[in-house]
């Protein structure tokens, strides 16, 4: 059997760095100086990724980091010699020059510092440091210390778990670059969704939950960071805001898609009800509905499924209740109108006016009665009885004018100005009695007496209109 057959068994890790560096002195200086055009053998070490940044997953750098980290965790000092001996022997068998070039790359990006005579050296341009790396004997004596400037393993794992949950995708690599990329696509998409929601919600009057705005702000903050390491740390730091914020953005966006028109209708229904709120019976379904609506409004909780369903359910009851109220207001107005029209022939006769006047005088009331059922807005329907009463009052005034027109004019005395028309005062039952309910004849007689007295007093100076 050939020796090569046993090579993978003796050096199972050799294949990771199968490179020999010919001119290590130049290679170390080049790497420390950030030279772009490296020798082919140095390039073969795969120390840098395509963008030219140090690739922490390069087998040489990864091996170095693991070795130093494990020794540091055991509180052991690591000399250059320890590192060279480790990687020169089985199971590695790596070129000792390549190992020094790897250390130079770590020094360049600040992940390893070199202690020479206990003095830390981190500046790649430092002549003493350069000499210590280039001279293999001197390198064996220096101490190497890992300065972990990367994102911690737990933080990376937790951030990936968060992103998997947020995006619903599992195929995200657990590297800062991959997490950065995944967040970019996801975050831009969510922000666009949030903007659409805002464009709709503001004019529609849908209050946004606090979580929505905090989540949007967190997304903007995370996306503003272009450095993958910083972005990953920021994602982790704002995990709570992102989690609740994205949930809220999705919830409201879905609400808008599914219930947008229904919410607008609900909002206008509430506006209509608020116009007649003072006329509503206490403890009714409409009051309950308005209460639930206002609570949802105050807590910005319309998009929550339970809340929305609850409001929708009460709304159905409120719609029924308002229809009953509308019908009663229409009926009340209709009764006022019909009574007045029924009394009109008698009123004309009583005042010795021609019967033919009835048609013209009744016209506004008849027209009003014809459109009673076409009014649907609660505020307008609620006002129908008072409108009807006003029309009846106007009819009374017309009657009065007609009577006056026909009355003989008093002879005008010379030089004496005409007497001014007397003012009219209205008298209501409430003017003479706080309790307007009459329970027996005695009470009625008492009320009559008070009313009679009041009217007579007023008649001394005014004309009186009973309301």
């Amino acid at each position: 059997m050939e020796l090569s057959t046993f090579w993978p068994t003796l050096y199972p890790k050799f294949e990771k760095v199968p490179v020999r560096i010919a001119q290590e002195q130049k290679a170390i200086i080049d790497v420390l100086g950030g030279e772009k055009n490296l020798a082919p053998d140095v390039n073969a070490l795969q120390l840098f990724d395509k963008s030219g940044a140090l690739d922490p997953h390069s087998p040489l750098l990864d091996g170095t980091r693991i070795f130093l980290a494990s020794r540091q965790s055991r509180k052991e000092r690591t000399l250059g010699k320890d590192l060279l001996d480790e990687f020169g022997a089985p199971p590695y068998g790596w070129d000792r020059n390549a190992v020094r070039v790897g250390v130079a790359a770590c020094v360049r990006v600040g992940t390893i510092k070199i202690l020479i005579g206990k003095m830390p050296h981190t500046n790649p341009a430092d002549q003493t440091l350069q000499k210590a790396l280039r001279d293999s004997r001197e390198f064996e004596k220096v101490e190497l210390m890992l300065e972990d400037s990367e994102v911690g393993a737990d933080l990376l794992e937790e951030t990936r778990a968060l992103l998997m949950k947020l995006t619903g995708k599992r195929k995200i690599d657990e590297t800062p670059a991959a997490l950065h990329e995944a967040m970019e696509t996801f975050g831009q998409d969510k922000l666009a969704r949030a903007e659409k929601v805002i464009d709709w919600a503001e004019p529609a009057g849908l209050p946004r939950p606090k979580a929505f705005d905090e989540g949007k702000e967190a997304l903007e903050g995370v996306l503003a960071l272009t450095n993958p390491l910083q972005r990953v740390k920021e994602i982790h730091a704002r995990a709570g805001d992102l989690r609740s914020g994205v949930e809220s953005i999705d919830q409201i966006a879905t609400f808008r898609e599914k219930w947008g028109p229904a919410f607008t209708e609900l909002k206008s229904f509430v506006t209509q009800l608020r116009g007649v709120k003072h006329l509503l019976p206490p403890g009714g379904t409409i009051q309950e509905f308005l209460g639930e609506y206002e609570a949802a409004q105050a807590g910005a909780r319309f998009a929550e499924q339970d809340i929305w369903k609850g409001i929708q359910a009460v709304k159905a009851g409120a719609a029924l209740e308002i229809q009953t109220l509308l019908a009663s207001w229409r009926d009340e107005a209709r009764v006022i109108v019909e009574d007045a029209l029924g009394r009109l022939p008698g009123d004309l006769e009583q005042r010795q006016l021609e019967e033919g006047l009835a048609k013209d005088m009744a016209a506004p009331i008849v027209a009003f009665g014809a459109v009673l059922d076409t009014e649907t807005e609660p505020v307008r329907v609620a006002a129908l009885p008072s409108r009807a009463q006003r029309l009846v009052d106007e009819l009374a005034a017309t009657l009065h004018k007609e009577v006056e027109k026909r009355a003989p004019k008093p002879p005008e005395e010379a030089g004496e100005p005409p007497k001014p028309a007397r003012e009219t005062r209205r008298v209501r039952f409430s003017d003479v009695a706080t309790v307007r309910r009459v329970c027996n004849e005695a009470e009625w007689e008492e009320l009559q007496k008070k009313l009679d007295q009041r009217v007579r007093t007023l008649l001394r100076e005014f004309e009186v209109e009973l309301a």
């Binding site: 890790k13 997953h57 980290a69 965790s73 794992e157 195929k171």
Partner: protein, 271 residues
């Protein structure tokens, strides 16, 4: 890509790598696990080397104890030593391959974090291996780079749901393959190494609904061919012992299952 051909090639290479194979002259060529058995002092053709004459690691010492006990129990049941060793190697190879394949199928279906699939993004490791290297670098200092540690950890976790498949203390996995063989097996499953004459494996190979069923069929393909060849060429040869399984283990395809169910259980249910 012909997914089944790729799966077949990988399965057969895994078995050859771990258990061994018969060459063109029908001579047995031991696989990695039998060589590992030899390394712990147990060979088919000679007496075992006493443990105190060997320099064994703690894991290998435990493997040797388990193998000795296995051979002893078989001897008590009347089985000869060579057959007992062959049985042990067969069971160990099957168990290692089965576990690696099952993990690969689970991760391809996004059921677990990747423990087999190696990526350049993780420096040629799997996700879980990379995590171990970052969190506990001291466990990755050995020649296996922490590969056994991450696999055995995962066996322990999976055993909570699938104890029969992943028991980390099962006799068959006490003997570990060599690092080189394990890496090659993982490379085949991971798609970083192509099986002979095939393209590298992708997730699709392992997400097919019948992937595991076909794997078990392919595992026995060569053995079945050999058994039937023996029956054809040697008159009066009976199929017996360990040969019964490969000769009779045939994957039942979904259409067969459907036919059988519709013509047996369904009429009974209707009646």
């Amino acid at each position: 890509m012909d997914l089944k051909r790729t799966l077949r090639a990988i399965t057969l290479e895994l078995r050859r790598e771990l258990e061994g194979k018969h060459d063109a002259q029908n001579n047995w060529q031991p696989g990695d696990l039998e060589r590992r058995l030899a390394a712990v002092g147990v060979r088919r053709d000679r007496s075992p080397v006493p443990v105190n004459e060997l320099s064994l690691s703690a894991d290998d010492r435990e493997a040797r104890r388990v193998v000795d006990a296995f051979i002893q129990s078989r001897a008590e049941a009347g089985q000869d030593r060579e057959a007992a060793i062959a049985d042990f190697v067969r069971a160990a190879a099957y168990s290692w391959a089965n576990r690696l394949l099952a993990l690969r199928c689970m991760e391809a279906r996004n059921l677990i974090d990747e423990v087999i699939l190696q990526k350049n993004a993780y420096g040629g490791r799997s996700l879980q291996h990379q995590r171990l290297a970052r969190k506990k670098p001291e466990r990755c200092l050995g020649e296996d780079d922490g590969l056994f540690a991450v696999l055995l950890d995962e066996f322990g976790v999976r055993a909570k749901e699938l104890p029969l498949l992943f028991d980390p203390k099962a006799v068959e996995v006490t003997l570990r393959p060599s690092v080189a063989a394990l890496k090659r097996s993982i490379a085949l499953l991971s798609g970083t190494l192509a099986a002979k004459g095939q393209e590298v494996a992708t997730d699709e190979v392992f997400t097919a609904p019948d992937a595991l069923g076909w794997t078990y069929q392919y595992w026995n393909t060569e053995e079945k061919d050999r058994v039937f060849q023996k029956v054809r060429t040697n008159k009066g040869t009976k199929i017996e012992g360990a040969e019964i399984v490969p000769a009779t283990c045939i994957y039942t395809e979904p259409y067969m299952v459907k036919f059988l169910v519709q013509n047996s259980l369904v009429p009974r249910c209707i009646n």
